[in-house]
């Protein structure tokens, strides 16, 4: 059965039309990723309007290609000009740019390209092996578990805003609220339409996403008149030839670093809300800590390029794992992918892989092929990159705004979506400048309907609210939602206040309860291990006299 599905998926993906679209997608992604200010999410969101006339497998394969291309495109700008093309390649510039400036731009690019390739392949393998397993766990979820999972996804995304936790939570709630406008799905009653027939149909969420992400980003990119008129070519080395063999030798010497960084990338991707922008910094930091020569970081060491590039390309595999297995997007780009699935009337859920095996395997295969295409096209795109760097940001902004209008109109052949685009563009722009993170809002918009639907289903089964706290999975998600909401406060107070000493042990104790309640053999064993770890941490802290870092420093001085 699996082999049949894989063969069917191969048939779809290996058609000349799909491969051509994927090549265009990877090329587009590489260009978009190379342009600072043009994020990967923006590239993927702008691809959406093209895909709804395509069969779902073809549309998704094209979007996956843009995604893979975008993840790798950022390194070209980062290494050659010192300006990261995307937030996912910020750490690449720390060592990539110095290495390029020291006369080895070809080697720096080669290391970046091959690290991206290996990171991508590693995450594609994880996606193919882990997603079906996680989906099996997901099948245990009842509607109230699923509702709590959505709440957890929103909370953890908001908590990534750090000190701006409240702003993040507000953004998430606004996203959920936006989705309630129009007819309600269950009863068909009008909500917040204020007598307008346009509002009655609700906001098209793709128009909302393009407005929030692309439109508002473009307004921010041209905010500074001087920067808007500048081109990339005014900085750095542009001419280079990728040194493939030398790069492979360098990576071969540090293959454990590739695996470690890619693992960091996959797990960051699985975590809802955390994307490549977090993973590349995290992997760079870990590589520096584990290195025998940490002082060389920042001067052009290959390790400083391998770590961020293998991790940021591995992120999307992780993000797609949660999307395909649970229907919860791992990051903003995965949220857009979820939008693409919804356009084709495919609702991602734990039964997604079982219900749509050909589509699921097409995505897996497309991810693999796109990674190989990226490797081949990167060399060619280096020449195009030279041309891209001559484009001024204001030109790009004007053209993309024009494109946004045509693309959004094509969603439903209606002008209302264009108004949605402009208002949400303005809202997104305001939110950016007022310090509200957009990721929780986007997740709120995408997950709003799913949350309401599952709440309605849960209450239809039983009106007893206590089951939200007594069902193991529901309780599990509630507990990790609470602890993830407290995490920014914990980070801020760590080493300064005594209560932070209890955060980790208490989190372990709390999580072990639902794990134990889940039954079976493995989960109670995991619960006991987690409980033991919590008790050990608490005991260690008791032995050290409940001393916090500030007190230890005081004693030492």
């Amino acid at each position: 059965m699996i082999i049949e599905n894989v063969i069917s998926a191969f048939d779809v993906v290996f058609s000349i039309q799909t491969l051509a679209l994927m090549a265009i997608g990877v090329t587009g992604g590489l260009i978009a990723g190379a342009i600072p200010g043009f994020t990967i999410a923006m590239a993927v969101v702008l691809t959406l309007p093209f895909t709804f006339s395509m069969p779902p497998e073809q549309g998704l394969a094209t979007m996956v290609s843009v995604l893979v291309g975008g993840l790798s495109g950022g390194l070209m700008a980062g290494i050659l000009t010192g300006i990261p093309g995307t937030p996912s390649s910020v750490a690449t510039t720390f060592d990539g740019f110095p290495l390029a400036r020291s006369g080895q731009p070809g080697l720096a690019l080669g290391i970046g390209v091959w690290s991206s390739f290996f990171g991508g392949i590693f995450s594609a393998i994880c996606l193919m092996t882990l997603a079906p397993q996680l989906a099996l766990i997901g099948l245990e979820f009842h509607p109230r578990d699923y509702f709590m999972l959505v709440i957890f996804a929103l909370t953890i995304t908001a908590s990534l805003a750090g000190k701006k936790l409240v702003k993040g939570l507000i953004a998430g709630a606004v996203g959920l609220l936006v989705r309630t406008v129009g007819e309600d799905d269950a009863a068909g009653m009008a909500r917040f339409d204020f007598g307008s027939e346009f509002l009655l149909s609700g906001f098209d969420f793709i128009a909302v996403l393009i407005g929030l992400f692309a439109f508002s980003q473009l307004l921010s990119d041209v905010r500074d008149p001087d920067v808007a008129k500048q081109s990339l070519a005014e900085r750095g080395t542009i001419k280079a030839k990728i040194e493939h063999l030398m790069a492979l030798k360098e990576i071969g010497k540090r293959w454990t670093l590739v695996i470690r960084s890619a693992t960091i990338g996959v797990f960051t991707g699985i975590l809802p809300g955390a994307g490549g922008s977090v993973a590349n910094i995290l992997a760079y930091d870990q590589a520096k800590k584990a290195s025998k020569e940490p002082e060389k970081f920042g001067t052009g060491t290959p390790e400083g390029i391998i770590a961020p590039e293998s991790s940021n390309n591995a992120v999307e595999g992780g993000a797609l794992i949660t999307l395909m297995a649970l229907g919860i997007p791992g990051d903003v780009t995965a949220a857009v992918m979820l939008g693409a699935l919804l356009i084709h009337d495919v609702v991602p859920s734990p039964s997604f892989i079982g219900d749509n095996p050909v589509l699921a395997y097409s995505i897996f295969i497309a991810f693999f092929i796109a990674t190989f295409m990226m490797l081949g096209l990167q060399t060619v795109m280096l020449r195009v990159f030279v041309l891209v760097t001559k484009i001024r940001m204001y030109m790009l902004a004007a053209v993309i705004l024009g494109f946004c209008s045509i693309g959004v109109f094509a969603l439903n052949n209606g002008v209302f979506d264009l108004w949605t685009l402009v208002w949400f563009g303005a809202l997104g722009f305001l939110m950016r400048h007022l310090g509200f993170p957009l990721a929780p809002m986007i997740l709120g918009v995408v997950l709003g309907d799913i949350a309401e639907l599952n709440l309605a289903r849960a209450l239809a089964i039983s009106t007893d609210f206590s089951t939200f706290f007594t069902r193991p999975w529901s309780l599990f998600f509630l507990i990790i939602a609470v602890f993830s909401a407290l995490f920014p406060l914990f980070q801020e107070h760590r080493g300064k206040f005594k209560w932070t000493l209890f955060y980790l042990p208490f989190a372990c104790f709390a999580v072990s309860v639902p794990l134990y309640l889940m039954g079976g053999v493995a989960r109670p064993v995991i619960a006991i291990i987690v409980l033991g770890f919590g008790a050990y941490t608490l005991w260690k802290r008791w032995k050290s006299g409940w001393e916090i870092a500030a007190e230890q420093e005081l004693k030492a001085s």
Binding site: F50, S53, V166, K167, L169, I170, A173, V174, L176, L177, T180, D184, A186, A187, M189, A190, R191, F192, F194, L218, L219, S220, V222, R223, D224, P225, A228, K229, R392, Y394, M395, A397, A398, V399, L401, G402, F403, S405, I406, G407, F409, A410, N413, V415, L418, W419, V422, G425, A426, F429, L430, H433, L434, A451, E452, L455, A456, L459, A460, T463
Partner: protein, 178 residues
Amino acid sequence: MVSLNRDSVVAIILLFVCGVLFYSSFDIRQPDYGVLMPSTWPRIILVVLALLSSIYLIQSLRDKRREKADDELDIRVDAFAIEKNKPGLKGFFEYWRNPIICFGMFFLYLITLPVFGMLIGGLIFVFTLMSLLGGWKPRKLVTHAAISIITVGAMWGLFTFGLGVMLPEGVIFNPYAL
């Protein structure tokens, strides 16, 4: 003059919006069936949002007391301004000139869409926006015109002929379009 910092203004606006939407949630018709009424979910969100906005307001007022000198901004104009811009209305428009132009031009483009249609309207929009942001020197105008014609023409052609989307024609091409 009452002065509030930027965050306080935003928090008050959010609370006001919550109030208005909560009030209008009573206009939502309730069916005789189902457990979760159509108004319940929006009300849950609004209560949570109001609660978070109140925390945000309290935080902003507390921060204002801490950093009184730096963060206090005039409520009329400077509530959405950030560092480096000159004070007053002129400074505000200078700082936000380009986003305001983009927003205004897009607004005009949408209003005139039934007249010009997407092809002509798109061309005018992209060309004018580029020139407003990049300058009106003759050489630049030629570049802007060429870019507008190539990109908008290509996108219009792709959607019309490639994807079969009926884009607005406008009264210029079709007098019955209005």
